[in-house]
């Protein structure tokens, strides 16, 4: 561990550390352009030069490793002279357009030119003209401003895993850009504008929207997937202008995915901005005062018996506060245990076991994922389900981890050397059982599959259950087999626990913690009285046995496994809708109580690691909308029992009583611990219920990446993105060979038939889809493919008929 002196400060660092990193450790800032703490060293801008005692020439600090006793000066005559020269060279071909440049005010070149540069230019020649590119709807280019630091190139190659940017031509004519001009496809492309130290790559939707110094910042948490990235919400005049990645080494480092970054324009679209009540005379919704609306809602709830009332909550973008208040209201005030948030889940058999937090969330902190040596994705497509989690997995594979995926189709993954094992839907259990047998075989078993061989030798294995596995008809047995696989290799211990279940949307973890499930209360406490789960609630509602549905931000007609059932239930029931958006369910409700959405209130969001993070208010919501938990509080005033909290602090106190992990520290700034939960439940029976196997094509649905919750569906920016897992929106995809056999053409209208369920849509071909499988997107109106799914009936077997 060499010790060196930087500007008089002594610092001891790991051997092999560069001067630049040692200086950052010592709190000394060295100017730089090409250096980026999370990217490889390029050493090409030459800005970070320092003076090292007893050397004649300046030393490039991002390249030079430290030596014992080194004496470094970062502000000597030699350094200032060198920096002046480098800045002058960088500026000779840089346009003087700071007044119209989006980077102005937060530009490294501007700052260092002020600090080191001349006050005039000695360059009186012709400036170079660079070519601009159309990089799609997210990134604006102004390549004349490029300083050729190649951060964007390295970001694409190393982090995003898609080699979309490069430096072509040579010398003076070097041009950074896409090799072939086309829109960027990476789900992380928005970071390019952030890594660019100058104004060459800009945030296109933010282009000319505001000057950086006018913006106010709020520290938020992204509400669009279960990773819970920290974000900085930049706002001006009560409008969110842009979202930037927050800095959090433990979660998102310095990155953010495009969905999280660009969903903000959906926040203000199609909002519910006043309480509404269905008019007895006209049948339409009319605006009323809060008092009238609350009275009407209370009246509805009191009219029926408690067991005739059920509540369904969304697990996306809802704060833990409203989830807690929701279940509290249902259980204590209404007296009903019929509540759930798992509208997308098919298999509820896990509810029979007293599963804990460790069984339902991640057990490997995100940071540790990068240290994994074998990765097994079971029904998970992390690149499009949790992009920043995928970044960690990619780090692990870049460092040599072996990776395998068991999925019903080939994924567009960017893990290095990912082995994709395509398993026909419904045969996952058999596959995992076989794998478990291979892994459990005594001694030096021969003829093992590469996966089993790798798994047996794994020291730090990671198994990830994703959207497909969690919403699988046999989800619970898949989960148990996964636990067993990890147990066989001793990977469920306190030092290394490789079991990771990433379920649902952004706040599914809080919904579990807060007890928005029918079988247990907040803090995983068991209850005497169980209610009905989501599937039963909707079946009973459609049969008229449940009479009132209280919806918190969710729409069973759009999000449920079986949307036809969801719509039948909505039609049959009296509906009280609490939420922020004009969803079809809201427009069909009897009472509509407008709530707030993310960025409009202080809220607790719990990510898949189980960190309960605080997201701060950035802008005010519509005038009449209220924080959702306050709506429940106000509603409870009309009942015999009231909810016992009048401020957010009191509510948080109650939440912390129920679950200690929700205790907020004095300043709220400390990042809660990851995976702060007990051991995974082991030794559960592994007998699988027989899977159904039919003759037709199996219909499998997945969420479109860019349009998968109430906010993103309303975002015009994200609406322009139809790539990655949003490709082929509005159609079903089959293998090209299948299309030939069925005599179907891509783009042709077809009829999907499954028993008496029928649906018309367009067919597309996709070589990633295997034979015997039809792939489509869920939750994409107007053609709702979930209409084909019978909740209890496993994967639908469909036939395709050309029209």
């Amino acid at each position: 561990m060499p010790t060196l002196t930087i500007d008089g400060k002594e610092v001891t660092v790991q051997a092999g550390t560069t001067i630049m990193r040692a200086a950052r450790q010592a709190g000394v800032s060295i100017p730089h352009f090409c250096f980026h703490p999370l990217l490889s060293v390029a050493g090409n801008c030459r800005m970070c030069l320092v003076e090292v005692a007893e050397t004649r020439r300046p030393v490039i600090s991002c390249v030079q490793p430290v030596r014992e006793g080194m004496v470094v000066k970062t502000d000597s005559e030699m350094v200032r002279k060198g920096c002046k020269t480098v800045i002058e060279y960088l500026l000779v071909n840089h346009p003087l357009d700071c007044p119209v440049c989006d980077q102005g005010g937060e530009c490294d070149l501007q700052d260092f030119a002020m600090k080191y540069g001349l006050d005039h230019t000695r360059f009186r020649e012709k400036k170079r003209q660079a070519q601009n590119y159309d990089l799609g709807p997210l990134t604006e280019t102004e390549m004349n401003r490029c300083v050729h630091c190649t951060r964007c190139v390295r970001f694409c190659t190393e982090v995003a895993g898609v080699e979309e940017m490069g430096a072509v031509n040579r010398g003076y004519h070097t041009q950074v850009g896409p090799y072939i001009e086309k829109p960027l496809t990476s789900e992380l492309s928005g970071n390019l504008a952030e890594v660019c130290p100058v104004g060459a790559l800009n945030n296109k939707p933010f282009h000319f929207q505001a000057r950086s110094w006018e913006l106010k910042h709020a520290a938020g948490v992204c509400a669009h997937c279960a990773v819970g990235c920290q974000i900085r919400v930049d706002h001006l005049g009560n409008q969110v202008k842009r979202v930037m990645a927050g800095r959090c080494d433990a979660i998102n480092q310095m990155w953010l995915c495009d969905k999280g970054r660009f969903a903000y324009d959906g926040l203000t679209q199609e909002r519910l901005d006043a309480p509404l009540v269905r008019s007895e005379s006209t049948g339409g919704l009319r605006e009323v005062t809060w008092a009238v609306a609350l009275d009407r809602a209370a009246e509805l709830l009191k009219k029926f018996r408690a067991e005739e009332i059920a509540g369904l909550a969304s697990d996306a973008a809802q704060g833990a506060e409203e989830l807690f208040a929701f279940q509290d209201f249902m259980r204590r005030v209404v007296g009903s245990a019929n509540l759930d948030h798992r509208l997308r889940q098919r298999d509820f058999s896990g509810d029979e076991q007293p599963l804990g937090r460790a069984d339902l969330l991640m057990n490997t902190p995100l940071v540790d994922l990068a240290r994994a040596d074998v990765i097994l994705l079971v029904g998970a497509d992390p690149r499009y389900e949790a992009p920043l989690l995928n970044v960690r997995l990619r780090q692990a594979t870049r460092a040599g981890a072996q990776s395998f995926a068991v999925h019903p189709r080939r994924m567009e993954a960017n893990l290095v050397n990912l082995t994709q094992i395509v398993v026909h839907p419904g045969e996952e259990v058999a596959f995992l059982e076989g794998l478990l047998r291979e892994v459990s075989a005594e001694g030096e078993a021969s003829g093992l599959s590469p996966l089993a061989t790798a798994w047996r030798a794994a020291k730090r294995p990671v198994l990830l259950l994703g959207e497909y596995a969690v919403n699988h008809p046999q989800a619970e047995i898949i989960r148990r087999l996964s636990v067993a696989l990890l147990e066989r290799v001793g990977a469920l211990g306190p030092e290394w626990n490789g079991f990771n279940r990433v379920a649902g949307r952004s706040n599914a973890a809080a919904a579990q913690d807060m007890g928005v499930v029918p079988h247990r209360g907040p803090g995983y406490q068991s209850l005497d009285r169980r209610g009905h789960h989501a599937e039963h609630i909707l079946r009973l509602a459609a049969r008229g046995e449940i009479k009132v549905l209280l919806l918190l931000g969710c729409d069973p007609g759009l999000e449920a496994v079986d949307t036809r059932l969801g719509r039948e239930a909505l039609a049959k029931c009296r509906v009280i809708y609490i939420g922020a958006y004009q969803t079809p369910a809201a427009l069909q409700a009897d009472v509509v109580l407008p709530g707030l959405t993310s960025t409009e209130r202080n809220a607790t969001l719990t990510n898949a690691e189980g960190r309960a993070q605080q997201s701060a208010l950035a802008v005010m919501g519509p005038l009449q909308a209220k924080e959702d938990w306050r709506i429940f509080r106000a509603l409870s005033d009309r009942f015999a029992k009231q909810l016992p909290y009048n401020s957010r602090e009191e509510l948080l106190g109650r939440m912390a009583e129920a679950d200690r992990r929700y205790a907020v520290t004095a300043d709220g700034a400390v990042l809660p611990k990851a995976c702060d939960h007990g051991p995974v439940t082991v030794d559960l029976p592994l007998t699988a219920p027989a899977g159904s196997k039919g003759a037709g094509l199996v219909l499998v649905l997945e969420s479109p990446f860019y349009q998968d919750d109430a906010i993103t569906r309303r975002s015009a920016i994200l609406g322009k993105l139809t790539q990655g897992r949003s490709a082929g929106l509005g159609m079903v995809r089959i293998h090209p060979q299948e299309a030939v056999q069925l005599k179907l053409q891509a783009g042709q209208k077809v009829r999907l038939v499954c028993g008496e369920r029928k649906l018309e849509c367009t067919v597309g071909v996709d070589a990633n889809v295997p034979m015997g499988v039809v792939y489509g997107h869920r939750e994409h109106a107007p053609v709702l493919l979930q209409d084909m799914c019978d909740w209890g009936g496993g994967f639908p077997q469909v036939s395709l008929v050309g029209l």
Binding site: V41, G43, N44, C45, R46, M47, L49, R57, P58, I60, V63, Q64, P65, K81, G82, T85, V86, Y89, L90, V92, N93, R122, F123, R124, E125, K126, R128, V147, H148, A167, N169, R170, G171, Y172, H173, T174
Partner: protein, 422 residues
């Protein structure tokens, strides 16, 4: 006149194995394989031969610093002879390729390498063909292969043609290019001796350096050391070009007076010695020497350094009084601007800036202050070591040298808008 490297080139079919063997070929290899690798390195160290590519780093030291553990060291021959004015290696490649091959096998033995590569510039198509033919002959005769001369030493050799980039003559850019990447220099540290080709320790030597090795082994390091002058031992190939009566390649002991080289070997300056304007003594990237210095300077590392220039690759470019120095510099600047790889900012931007100013001067659009600005740019960028490789200095060094020696000609271009020579 001692001829070590060019001793065979005048013979008929000198490129064939038969002729090479008839003239003592591959005896040095046999001798070297009878020694230990450390003894071979010691012999090369004693000879004090310095790298002939331009940097002048002692070859023995380079070989000696190679790791002795079980890593797979590599030997790379830099045959990317791209420095304007230099054409010495080409003669070796075409007329005596076996001498290079022999030198490489010995180098490989000394550096504990089992694989060598010859990176030959893309324009040398026929040269590459002839080299490959020689390598095939050497394989057939057992001078290359799994068991060289039956002594249990394994050494393989491959030829790789470059794609025409000057910067690939820089050793780390050469390695990048050899690996199939864009030819751009690497960051140092680590130097190629520690992390080189495919991440393995790599010796990179010039063709001339390697071709001198068989002679050193045959005659002994001490014999070679006594040739030339102190600190500049042995013979050097000089490519004399420009305004001399007999331009060509000359193998001469180091320390020869420049005047002797030009007047006695190269047939004299065109129009007589007094018609001399200046000499670029080591390839186009080194500063020019005015006539007064040329009168006395000797061609060795130390004397030229003292004169403010460099021995470089040994390309002696002679300019007589008909030459407009501004025009000559403009021509050079264009070359370096074109060849700058664009990786680091000072070279990418500076090479073009300097070129634009020199161009303006040449075109009669000079402005007062231009010459000072050029000098400032040369002084700020050159010696500061801001660039990754030496190419950046290659742009400004000649300009700085030319302004130092012929400032009045530059000023004349500013004040008169035309040349004072023609």
């Amino acid at each position: 006149m001692t001829q070590i490297i060019y001793k065979n080139i005048h013979l008929e079919n000198s490129h064939t194995l038969a002729v090479y063997l008839a003239n003592g070929g591959y005896t040095a290899l046999e001798k070297a394989l009878g020694m230990t690798d450390l003894e071979v390195i010691e012999e090369v160290k004693i000879s004090n031969i310095r790298g002939r590519g331009g940097a002048g780093f002692p070859a023995g030291e380079k070989w000696g610093s190679m790791p002795k553990d079980q890593r797979s060291n590599r030997v790379v021959c830099n045959a990317d002879e791209g420095e304007p004015g230099t054409c010495k290696d080409r003669v070796i490649l075409t007329q005596d390729p076996h001498m290079l091959i022999e030198g490489m096998v010995i180098c490989g033995y000394a550096a504990r390498a089992h694989q060598g590569y010859i990176y030959i510039r893309g324009e040398f198509y026929r040269e590459a063909e002839r080299l490959q033919a020689a390598i095939d002959e050497a394989y057939a005769a057992g001078y290359l292969g799994d068991n060289v001369l039956g002594k249990g030493f394994c050494f393989h050799l491959a030829v790789h043609r470059g794609a025409g980039a000057y910067v690939c003559g820089e050793r780390s850019a050469l390695i990048e290019s050899l690996e199939g990447k864009k030819g751009q220099p690497r960051l140092k540290p680590p130097r190629p001796g520690i992390v080189g080709l495919y991440g393995e320790p790599t010796v990179v030597n010039n063709v001339e350096t390697l071709a001198a090795v068989p002679g050193i082994i045959t005659h002994g390091g001490a014999w070679y050391f006594n040739l030339g002058v102190p600190n500049s031992s042995g013979t050097k190939l000089f490519s004399v070009s420009g305004h001399v009566n007999k331009p060509g390649n000359y193998e001469v002991e180091l320390g020869v007076p420049l005047k002797v080289l030009l007047e006695e070997y190269a047939g004299g300056v065109r129009g007589g010695w007094d018609n001399l304007k200046g000499v670029i003594p080591g390839g186009s990237s080194v500063p020019i020497l005015p006539k007064e210095v040329c009168e006395t300077v000797t061609m060795d590392y130390d004397a030229l350094k003292k004169a403010g220039t460099n021995l470089g690759s040994g390309a002696v470019i002679v300019l007589d009084r008909s030459v407009c120095i501004v025009r000559a510099m403009a021509r050079l600047c264009h070359f370096y601007r074109h060849e700058s790889c664009g990786r680091c900012s000072p070279c990418r931007e500076g090479s073009s800036w300097v070129t634009q100013i020199v161009d303006r001067l040449e075109n009669g659009q000079g402005r007062p202050g231009d010459v000072d600005l050029l000098m400032d740019l040369a002084n700020e960028a050159g010696p500061l070591g801001l660039t990754i490789c030496a190419l950046g200095e290659g742009v400004v060094n000649p300009v700085r040298g030319a302004i130092k020696a012929f400032r009045e000609e530059f000023e004349y271009h500013v004040t008169h808008g035309r040349c004072m020579v023609a």
